[in-house]
């Protein structure tokens, strides 16, 4: 199958332009990160370093977890709207009568969510690290800057957002109500977070091999999800709403 980068680029550019001028999306992308950075920073700055080991680790874990909620939540909001939103505003029919393939359309839609999510998530994580380095207690800062913590955040951010994006697009492809799609997508984006929670709270002993194993599993799911969503993408059903 020959993919057309021009067609993917056309949809991607269209989406990014549309996001930029959509107040709901602009507010979501600006306000949500503020919430998710304020909470962990406040937790760390008020953290008493004298508390015993497991409690200390839990508080650190919660702060880092907040950083991973962002790449799960942002795409779930955008991806849930991606197909059903086109259908609602009547743009889906003209798009689907062009030579674009379902695979190209879906990849473009996924990239249009992935790019801003990653940019915002890494940017916010950068601010978090900067604030910790400058203002947090040196023991707290040293714990946060442990290589495994940083690596977990960097690796799991795109993987978790990939999961959210594909579940969001799958739901958006199948459900005919925007609100229902968004609520379901937020719920569906949570399972990978559960594992990260268990690791951050040391319920599952975090180890490099475990993290790598989970990363590989998520990566495979993200890759296969694209194929799965493509099979759900039925032009006739999307246009007529009939199964």
């Amino acid at each position: 199958m020959n993919f057309s980068p021009t067609r993917i680029k056309a949809i991607l550019r269209n989406e990014l332009r549309d996001y930029r001028r959509n107040r709901f999306i602009v507010y979501t992308m600006s306000l949500l990160p503020l919430i998710f950075i304020a909470a962990p920073i406040a937790q760390l700055f008020t953290l008493n370093v004298a508390i015993i080991g497991s409690k200390f680790n839990n508080r650190i874990g919660v702060s880092l977890l907040d950083m991973l909620i962002l790449p799960a939540i942002i795409p779930s909001i955008l991806a849930a709207y991606s197909v059903i939103g086109e259908r609602e505003q009547g743009t889906l029919e003209p798009i689907l009568t062009t030579p674009i393939r379902a695979e190209e359309f879906l990849i473009a839609k996924a990239l249009a969510v992935f790019i801003p999510t990653i940019v915002v998530s890494y940017f916010i994580f950068g601010i978090f690290l900067g604030a910790v380095a400058v203002f947090a207690h040196p023991i707290v800062a040293a714990t946060i800057f442990e290589r495994n913590h940083i690596l977990t955040q960097l690796v799991f951010t795109p993987l978790i957002s990939g999961w959210s994006i594909w579940t969001g697009i799958a739901i958006s492809t199948y459900i005919s109500d925007v609100r229902a799609a968004q609520q379901l997508t937020v719920l569906a984006s949570l399972p990978p977070l559960v594992i990260v929670i268990l690791m951050n709270f040391n319920i599952i002993a975090p180890s490099l091999s475990l993290a790598l194993g989970l990363a590989v599993v998520l990566f495979l799911i993200d890759t296969m999800a694209w194929r799965f969503v493509t099979t759900l993408f039925n032009r006739e059903r999307l246009i007529t709403g009939k199964h």
Binding site: A10, G90, E93, T97, T98, E236, I239
Partner: protein, 308 residues
């Protein structure tokens, strides 16, 4: 070319055994009441919906899952709702579609199509700020962007005011002059009569197909309307003596409606007979049935058949 095309959604039949041909450069009107299957037919021919049975060849390519992409490269559709991105400008909307068709020289093409729909000065306006008529024109520009072999227009003037409707008609007339093949679905009969070379009337099944004049001839006998200066004393004697007259009746307005085989031959005979009887003939002419008469006749037949 469409042969015995049928589409059902479960028990419900959208259209059945539809067959017709559209020639290159022809403007083909597809008429029918709401729910007749017009839009579903257009969606089938534009590869969005798979037919239940039958076959079709569009722009020389046989309809089938392997050929969908090839067909979509050669056609363009303007759906009933313009389907524009309201937060993007006119130009940005067209840029997106230029990319989807992988067109070269995008800027010039956009300028050219916007000029053709008289929107060159609105290219930087947000589509959401345009009136419905202007949005229809943008949608038409978008459909013309790829220079399609076949242009599908689904109710292009639906919901437009008379001025906007006239503007769209003028644009379609210009396309007709340029020889663009157009498949136009509408339930506005004057629109079909004005724009189309041939029309088909669909009400789940295809009722009739032909030029508006042919359809009139197929459905209606030809009539002459005669206005006289005074009442004809013995119309029965005068009209039955002339060969070629099949029947006659007096209308409410007082004129006489005479059913004839060939108006050109019979009219002079009628005039001679009436003048010979001392009656002044004020006017005589063939009454014309509109496409609306044809349409209503067919649709009423359907309703009556269903009631039986």
């Amino acid at each position: 070319m469409v042969e015995d095309l049928t589409k059902s959604f479960g028990e419900r039949v959208a259209y059945k055994d539809v067959s017709f041909e559209v020639g290159y450069g022809e403007v083909f009107g597809f008429l029918g009441p709401n729910g007749a299957g017009k839009t579903t037919t257009v969606r089938t021919l534009s590869t969005l919906i798979k037919p239940t049975s039958g076959q079709a060849t569009i722009a020389g390519i046989t309809l089938g899952s392997d050929s969908d992409l090839l067909i979509r490269e050669r056609i363009a559709i303007m759906p009933e709702s313009p389907g524009l991105y309201s937060r993007l400008t006119v130009s940005e909307n067209l840029e997106c579609f230029a990319g989807l068709y992988e067109l070269k020289d995008v800027k010039n093409r956009i300028d050219k199509v916007l000029k053709s729909v008289n929107l060159a000065d609105r290219k930087n306006d947000l589509c959401g700020s345009l009136s419905k008529g202007l949005r229809q024109r943008v949608a038409l520009a978008r459909a013309l962007l790829s220079d399609p072999e076949i242009l599908f227009l689904d109710e292009p003037t639906s919901g437009l005011d008379p001025v906007a409707t006239r503007d769209v008609h003028d644009l379609l007339m210009a396309l007709r002059e340029r020889g663009v093949t157009i498949f136009l679905t509408t339930h506005r009969l004057e629109e079909a009569e004005k724009l189309c070379h041939r029309v088909a009337i669909l009400n789940t099944t295809l009722k009739l197909i032909g030029s508006p004049a042919e359809l009139r001839e197929q459905l209606f006998s030809r009539n002459l309307e005669i206005k006289t200066g005074s009442q004809i004393i013995e119309p029965e004697r005068i009209f039955t003596d002339i060969s070629g007259i099949q029947s006659w009746e007096q209308s409410v307005s007082g004129s006489y409606i005479v059913n004839v085989s060939d108006p050109d031959v019979v009219a002079p005979w009628i005039v001679r007979a009436l003048v010979g009887a001392g009656i002044d003939v004020l006017a005589i002419g063939e009454t014309r049935h509109s496409l609306e008469d044809v349409y209503l006749e067919l649709i009423n037949e359907d309703v009556e058949a269903k009631q039986r």
